[in-house]
């Protein structure tokens, strides 16, 4: 059992958990994840290690409630426990002095971008952050990201905060602007883009950076079971080859990723997921979506 020692609501439907896991905290590196199982009946799901404190023996996870497991998680309180937490899994991010790096985070993807941006900052990179969400209410970690960024942009799908549009559009604008300006050719300076968020977002970012040939790293969120390379559930195609996200990734060169396949594979269990959620809602007698709008059950 892994004890929850802290919980904060970051936005509607997004929570941050602090979990006692001293061995994991000691070894964790930016870019890695854990696999958790909420209870004896639960599914194994991967969650990025959003932060870690080896002296306290604590890791942080940021979860967005989208289905049964993440809803069950959102109901847990400080003092409760999670049945299983295993990690740190996956490869750590490549942290080097690249120069200028653009960190793009979409939705709950801002959480996993943060430790990478932090490590890059500590390695004396110039950090430009572009973060986005559906709307102002669902934007997370803006202050924290701002603090570690040399340049900082917020986007929202509905324009309720910052730039009105997708993070990929903002990125495109930045790169185009820099092309026009003569003194500082931003796109030439940019050595790397790191993008984490929903697959369509990462795909869009890659389309933007490809013409500029800017190396773009994405963190793939395929369906997983064990997280140790044993089952192959997480397989994706990168550069025409099959890779296992849990051990070969989760970070890959975005220009080589077959995003269509990733997105199809993410939908493999849509019917079952809906059924699981419906039954869960029935059991606890409330609609999760209403809960999102402020009603509790």
């Amino acid at each position: 059992m892994y004890k929850i020692v802290g919980k904060i609501k970051l936005a509607e439907g997004i929570d941050r958990f602090e979990i006692e896991a001293p061995l994991i905290a000691k070894k964790a590196k930016a870019g890695q994840f854990v696999v958790i199982r909420v209870n004896e009946y639960g599914e194994r799901i991967p969650l990025t290690i959003a932060d870690y404190d080896s002296s306290q023996g604590i890791i942080s996870l940021v979860t967005m409630s989208i289905g049964k497991t993440t809803y069950m998680l959102s109901k847990l309180k400080r003092g409760d426990s999670i049945r299983d937490v295993v990690g740190p899994l996956g490869k750590q991010s490549e942290i080097e002095r690249f120069g200028k790096v653009i960190c793009v985070g979409g939705g709950v993807g801002i959480a996993p971008v943060m430790p990478i941006a932090k490590s890059l900052k500590n390695t004396r990179n110039y950090i430009i952050s572009i973060i986005g969400a559906k709307n102002k209410a669902s934007l997370i970690l803006a202050d924290e990201m701002k603090e570690i960024s040399d340049e900082f942009y917020i986007c929202s799908d509905d324009g309720s905060i910052g730039f009105h549009g997708f993070v990929s559009e903002k990125l495109n604008e930045l790169l185009e602007d820099s092309e026009k300006s003569s003194d500082s050719d931003l796109r030439k300076d940019i050595n790397r883009v790191i993008a984490i968020g929903p697959a369509p977002m990462m795909s869009a970012v890659c389309s933007v950076t490809k013409p500029y040939s800017i190396k773009t790293i994405v963190s793939l969120n395929s369906i997983m079971v064990d997280g140790t390379g044993m089952c192959g559930a997480c397989r994706v195609e990168v550069g025409g080859e099959t890779k296992f996200v849990c051990v070969n990734g989760p970070e890959f060169d975005g220009h080589k990723v077959n995003f269509n396949l990733l997105m199809l594979r993410q939908k493999m269990y849509l019917n079952e997921e809906k059924k699981a959620l419906d039954l869960y809602e029935e059991k606890c007698g409330c609609k999760m979506l209403e809960q999102k709008n402020g009603k509790t059950c």
Binding site: Y41, T69, G87, D226, G229, C231, A233, L264, E272, A276
Partner: protein, 489 residues
């Protein structure tokens, strides 16, 4: 001169091999309960009297861990069941499991003298009977002493205890790891098993289905190992959360690696990443470990389809096919590139699969998986013929030109083998691997190229059997004991 006793025995040959009651096929494909129901006391005693009590019992040569088969069967015939179990446990700490899953027809029973003219003594079923009988009585501790317990005052034990308040780390809780841990605990060591998954047992818990090995049985065998003083730490992926060097530097005198062959192979044919294509590891893990067959009571989903293909001919393929049937598939096609005689699966599994209506499509090999909208729709196959024997001694299958044909399906399970998972081995400094990525270890002792580190089971031999993994765990325990006591590598 023929003695009176053997005369008496010879007469008994005429008793026919006692069959084991089974759930009938129409019924059992609707549930995940065990298929073979086990002998009753009467069955067991009857079967035991078939044994000739040979002077030179060849059956024992056939058992990789040298169980004194002759004696335990004799004890059964005398209804001394507890003693029979103790006899088995001298050599085998997981009898309820081996009695069920050993490929007896290639091992002990193959060598039984009766097999020459008749059917061999049902050694596996007898082993299972005595083990189950004890487990059902819930007295799991048996006669074994748990390490350095106080009531243990024999001199050798005392010595053991003094020399061995030492810590040993075991990586992996499959049959190799469990056995090695149990043996070392009996010698008085402080043993900790580190297991990557959230349950103990390795393939026994994630691979072999409930209908062949009830998880309750496994749990009881595991409890027995724990009762010897072994500590089991779950959710510990070694190579990630700790390395072998961490262990050696933090008070573990020796490390045993029993991580198995847990890397799924695919065929590398087009369409293999479509939705509905599973590795056998994933399919079986979802069903067994995660209990997807009880979805939605358990949260993990699994594809339930009408038509499904399983590719392969080993135990893993049989387990997948029979699982698919139980998950409600109407047509389960088992596609294998050789013929039935070459199938590596246990005979009993092949028989059971046939009874359950699994359709064997032999001498056939998939060349492509065809899908639409991301999901599997067909599997394209070619017919094969058998040529000259290959290095495995089996006749090499060769494609027949122009024999392409499609089979309509909605899911495929690839059960064509497993390899070594590099997760641990790639982080262990100084550990020599074979060309194919298995750990190089001495076949007798399990010694690796790294001082203090031993290995055994599938991670050394490649996918093999439960009993061989156990045997490796056991001989490694002896070698570890010697190494820790003498310091000589």
């Amino acid at each position: 001169m023929v003695s009176e006793k053997s005369n008496k025995r010879t007469k008994k040959v005429k008793i026919r091999r006692t069959s084991m009651p089974e759930q009938n096929p129409e019924e059992r494909i609707k549930n995940f309960k065990e298929v073979a129901l086990g002998y009753t006391e009467e069955d067991a005693v009857k079967e035991s009297t078939r044994c000739l009590q040979c002077k030179n019992p060849r059956c024992i040569e056939g058992c990789p861990v040298d169980i004194d088969i002759k004696s335990f069967i004799d004890l059964i015939s005398k209804k001394e069941f507890d003693k029979a179990l103790d006899k088995i446990r001298e050599k085998n700490s997981l009898p309820a499991i081996c009695g069920r899953v050993c490929p007896q027809e290639d091992q002990c029973e193959k060598k039984c003298i009766l097999a020459v003219k008749d059917k061999p003594v049902a050694i596996g079923r007898l082993e299972r009977f005595v083990a189950d009988r004890k487990l059902s009585k819930n007295s799991i501790t048996g006669n074994e002493s748990s390490g350095c317990s106080e009531n243990n005052n024999s001199k050798s034990k005392e010595l053991d205890c003094k020399s061995s308040n030492k810590k040993i780390a075991i990586i992996g809780s499959g049959p190799a790891g469990l056995t090695c841990a149990g043996e070392l605990a009996k010698k008085g060591y402080k043993v900790t098993i580190f297991e990557a998954l959230h349950k103990t047992g390795g393939v026994l818990v994630y691979g072999i289905p409930e209908f062949r090995l009830p998880k309750k049985i496994l749990e009881k065998e595991v409890k027995f190992v724990e009762s010897l003083g072994v500590e089991i730490k779950l959710n510990m992926v070694i190579g990630k959360v700790l390395t072998i060097d961490d262990m050696l530097n933090n008070g573990y005198s020796s490390v045993f690696i029993g991580t198995g062959a847990g890397l799924p192979y695919f065929m590398n044919i087009p369409g293999e990443n479509l939705n509905g294509v599973y590795s056998a590891n994933e399919y079986l893990t979802r069903s067994n470990l995660m209990k997807a067959y009880l979805f939605p009571e358990y949260d993990t989903p699994i594809a339930r389809v009408r038509d499904i293909a399983v590719v392969g001919g080993g135990n893993v393929a049989m387990d997948s096919a029979r699982t698919a049937k139980r998950l409600g598939a109407k047509n389960v096609y088992l596609i294998y590139r050789r013929s039935e005689v070459e199938m590596p699966a246990r005979n009993e599994e092949i028989e059971h699969a046939k009874q359950e209506g699994i359709e064997f499509i032999l001498l056939t090999n998939p060349v492509e998986i065809v899908g639409s909208e991301g999901w599997v729709k067909k599997i394209k196959c070619v017919k094969m013929k058998l040529g000259e024997p290959d290095e495995s001694g089996r006749r090499r299958p060769m494609p027949i030109n122009g024999s392409e044909h499609d089979i309509d399906i909605e899911a495929v399970v690839m059960a064509i083998g497993q390899g070594p998972n590099p997760l641990l081995t790639s982080t262990a400094s100084g550990l020599k691997l074979t060309r194919r990525g298995y750990i190089e270890a001495d076949t007798q002792t399990g010694k690796t190229s790294k001082k203090g580190v031993f290995a055994g089971g599938d991670i050394v031999t490649g996918a093999a059997t439960v009993i061989l993994a156990m045997g490796a765990g056991k001989s490694a325990a002896e070698a570890i004991d010697k190494y820790v006591k003498t310091g000589i590598w």
